[in-house]
């Protein structure tokens, strides 16, 4: 019994000493400590710094201790366009509720509003970033969280603008509920594995809404990518999971809903592609499972450029696209099965919900347009309908084994 009390007493003492040790430091214009930099220099490990409302003209703030920095009522940290604003180099840092503006622009260094360098267990949340070069830049870090930030840039040209959220050589980062607008690439990942990107909105960016390269085993869920200069580009990665994302209104001469290049063994499920010039542009991507996606009103729903093998397209909805599938060769190794095609004209005599005549998603005209792009001007001409029909009856130029043998009669619902 005595023994037990001694233990309890010991724990209480440890807890109290911990509380005493972690003090809170207030930063405001009239406080003894009136800048974030001095607050960090006087703080001990695991302290909390509370920044009160006001404008703090500071840059090159280096957080080299495990601290929690909390802004009350969004204090403004103004970098005055002089360079990087906050750099985190320690583990276990939390930054919450700051309004960071005026990051310097440089052509030799990637200045960021907030940079995390080689640290673990960081949390960056509820920030508002404006007038930035790079927004949140995470390099060689792991196990962090970027949550509920709002990044609004003013990028016009690609060469003198930075990315909203950039990950470089990082692992196991969660990026959730962020809102990124008007930067170069909304979310950019390079050499970053096991990340979760969820519920973000990335819109109106100069180049890509989402861009990743050499980043394996990542999951992208419930994001919206809208009206970006060139849509979304994903390249050279393996085992990617993309669920329930929306790709919308990526219009333009060279823009895609999604550009896949050298993506292998991935899953693309439940996404919506609406009003894009090209829904998905696929190049050299193998063993991808496309399921339960919806393609509405795209110019090309799917454009297959070559070297794409054993991909499976099952149970997708293709609704009112000008071209459902475009191929540039007549070799096919991909499977199309049980999709709904709005331009399917067959019948279902045995009433099992599956059309009795197979559907050919590649039209002759899409083959011709691939060869001679100018012929697009004849779209929806009667002559084109006639040659498409004759090609459908006896395929010569289009892959004759590219068939959906079980086209659905009714639009699929999940």
């Amino acid at each position: 019994m005595n023994h037990f009390f001694r233990y309890i007493l010991f724990f209480i003492l440890v807890f109290i000493s911990y509380l005493v040790q972690c003090q809170t430091i207030q930063v405001c214009k009239s406080c003894p400590i009136s800048s974030l930099k001095t607050a960090i220099s006087v703080a001990k490990d695991f302290d909390t710094i509370v920044v009160k409302k006001g404008t703090y003209k500071e840059h090159d703030i280096i957080v080299n201790k495990p601290l929690t920095i909390i802004g009350k009522n969004y204090p403004v940290i103004d970098g005055e366009l002089k360079g990087e604003i906050i750099t985190i180099t320690s583990d276990n840092v939390t930054v919450d509720g700051l309004f960071i503006i005026n990051v310097g622009t440089s052509y030799t260094e990637d200045y960021a509003a907030i940079r995390v360098r080689e640290s673990k267990n960081f949390v960056i949340q509820n920030l508002v970033l404006e007038k930035l070069f790079f927004g949140i830049y995470i390099e060689k870090s792991r196990d962090g969280k970027v949550f509920h930030n709002k990044i609004i840039g003013d990028a016009v040209e690609e060469y003198n603008s930075g990315n909203g959220i950039q990950l470089w050589y990082s692992k196991n980062i969660q990026i959730e509920h962020n809102f990124v607008q008007h930067v170069r690439d909304g979310i950019y990942l390079e050499f970053s594995d096991d990340c979760l990107i969820k519920n973000n909105v990335s819109a109106l960016n100069v180049r890509y809404g989402l861009h990743f390269m050499f980043s394996n085993d990542d999951t992208y869920k419930d994001n919206t990518f809208e009206n970006n200069g060139a849509g979304v580009a994903v390249m050279f990665s393996k085992r990617i999971k993309m669920y329930n994302n929306t790709f919308k209104k990526n219009w333009g001469t060279a823009s895609y809903g999604m550009l896949l290049k050298e993506i292998n063994d991935s899953e693309i499920i439940g996404n919506t592609f609406e009003d894009n010039t090209i829904g998905i542009n696929i190049e050299g991507s193998n063993r991808i499972n496309y399921k339960h996606n919806t393609f509405i009103n795209n110019g090309w729903a799917i454009k297959v450029k070559g070297a794409c093998y054993t991909n499976k397209f099952t149970e997708n909805n293709f609704l009112y696209n000008a071209f459902d599938i475009a191929y540039n060769s007549n070799v096919n190794d991909n499977v199309f099965d049980k999709n709904y095609w709005s331009s399917y004209t067959g019948y279902d005599l045995d009433k099992n919900g599956i059309g009795d005549v197979p559907y050919r998603p590649v039209k002759l005209f899409s083959y011709i347009v691939n060869r001679t792009p100018e012929t697009i001007i004849l779209l929806r001409s009667m002559f084109i309908d006639i040659i498409d029909f004759s090609e459908k009856v006896s395929p010569v130029f289009t892959p004759d084994d590219l068939l959906d043998n079980n086209p659905q009669i009714k639009k699929l619902k999940w």
């Binding site: 010039t277 795209n298 110019g299 006639i386």
Partner: protein
């Protein structure tokens, strides 16, 4: 001229064919709108119909009307009336009654559907304007053919051939040229090729106004740049007007010299 126009117009208004034509468009509009419930999709389907059917009906109707009213024309020619006003009056009578059937037939269901609250109103008006232009053009061409051929069978044959050429064969030749010369820059060629055929021109105009313009990829930028601007639109409408005016001039010219 206006008396003859009025006469031809009322004559046609009383005839069964105008009603059939009107009823056809009315039915088409109703079916498309109320069974489809997607307005922009309905406009695309309508475009397909207008591009193919309006020229065909304009041609056939024009030729038919000319041959049918030949005796009446000869009677009129015996009166002290200017030749040009006889033929122009007849032409306008046919063309206007056909245009009216088209505009009313398609317009009424769209108005009931709630067109004025919808954003597709501009696409729709463009559709009707090009439809009217096509009617004017093809009726004029039909009158030309009928004036040049006394033989009815020949006249009908040429009329159908003309429609077939502009609606189908022209596109085939156009496509072949584009594919054969695809090593050369073809932007300008395809623009000019489109301008030369009223059916292609109308189709491109409507397509680019609908949001399909997005799909036109990087080559389409040229077309979009041309047709998408007000300059391109004006040039296109001038071309369509030229397509109306030239055959009408030939009607006047030919009718003055012709022996009846």
């Amino acid at each position: 001229m206006f008396k003859i126009l009025k006469y031809s117009f009322y004559d046609l208004m009383r005839s069964r064919w105008s009603y059939v034509y009107f009823a056809f468009y009315l039915l088409l509009g109703i079916v498309l709108l109320f069974l489809n419930n997607d307005l922009s999709k309905a406009v695309i389907t309508l475009m397909n119909v207008i591009i193919v059917l309006v020229p065909l009906i304009g041609t056939i109707f024009g030729v038919m009307y000319y041959y049918n009213s030949q005796e009446f024309t000869e009677l009129l020619l015996a009166q002290p009336i200017k030749r040009s006003s006889i033929f122009l009056g007849q032409y306008l009578g046919v063309a206007l009654s056909l245009s009216m059937s088209l505009i009313l037939g398609l317009g009424i269901p769209f108005i009931f559907y709630g067109l004025f609250e919808s954003t597709t109103i501009w696409d729709f008006s463009l559709l009707l304007i090009t439809g009217t232009f096509l009617t004017l053009i093809f009726t004029a061409l039909a009158f030309n053919i009928a004036l040049s051929n006394e033989n009815k069978i020949k006249g009908f044959g040429y009329a159908i051939l003309l429609w077939l050429f502009l609606a189908v064969i022209y596109d085939g030749l156009f496509l072949m040229t584009l594919v054969m010369f695809d090593d050369y820059p073809l932007d300008k060629v395809s623009l000019i090729g489109t301008m030369l055929n009223p059916i292609d021109l109308s189709r491109t105009l409507i397509l680019l106004k609908l949001d399909i313009s997005a799909l036109l990829g990087y080559t389409g930028a040229v077309f979009k740049q041309f047709f998408g601007t007000s300059f391109g639109l004006i040039v296109s409408f001038i071309t369509l007007t030229v397509w109306v005016v030239l055959p009408v001039f030939r009607i006047v010219f030919k009718s003055k010299k012709k022996d009846f």
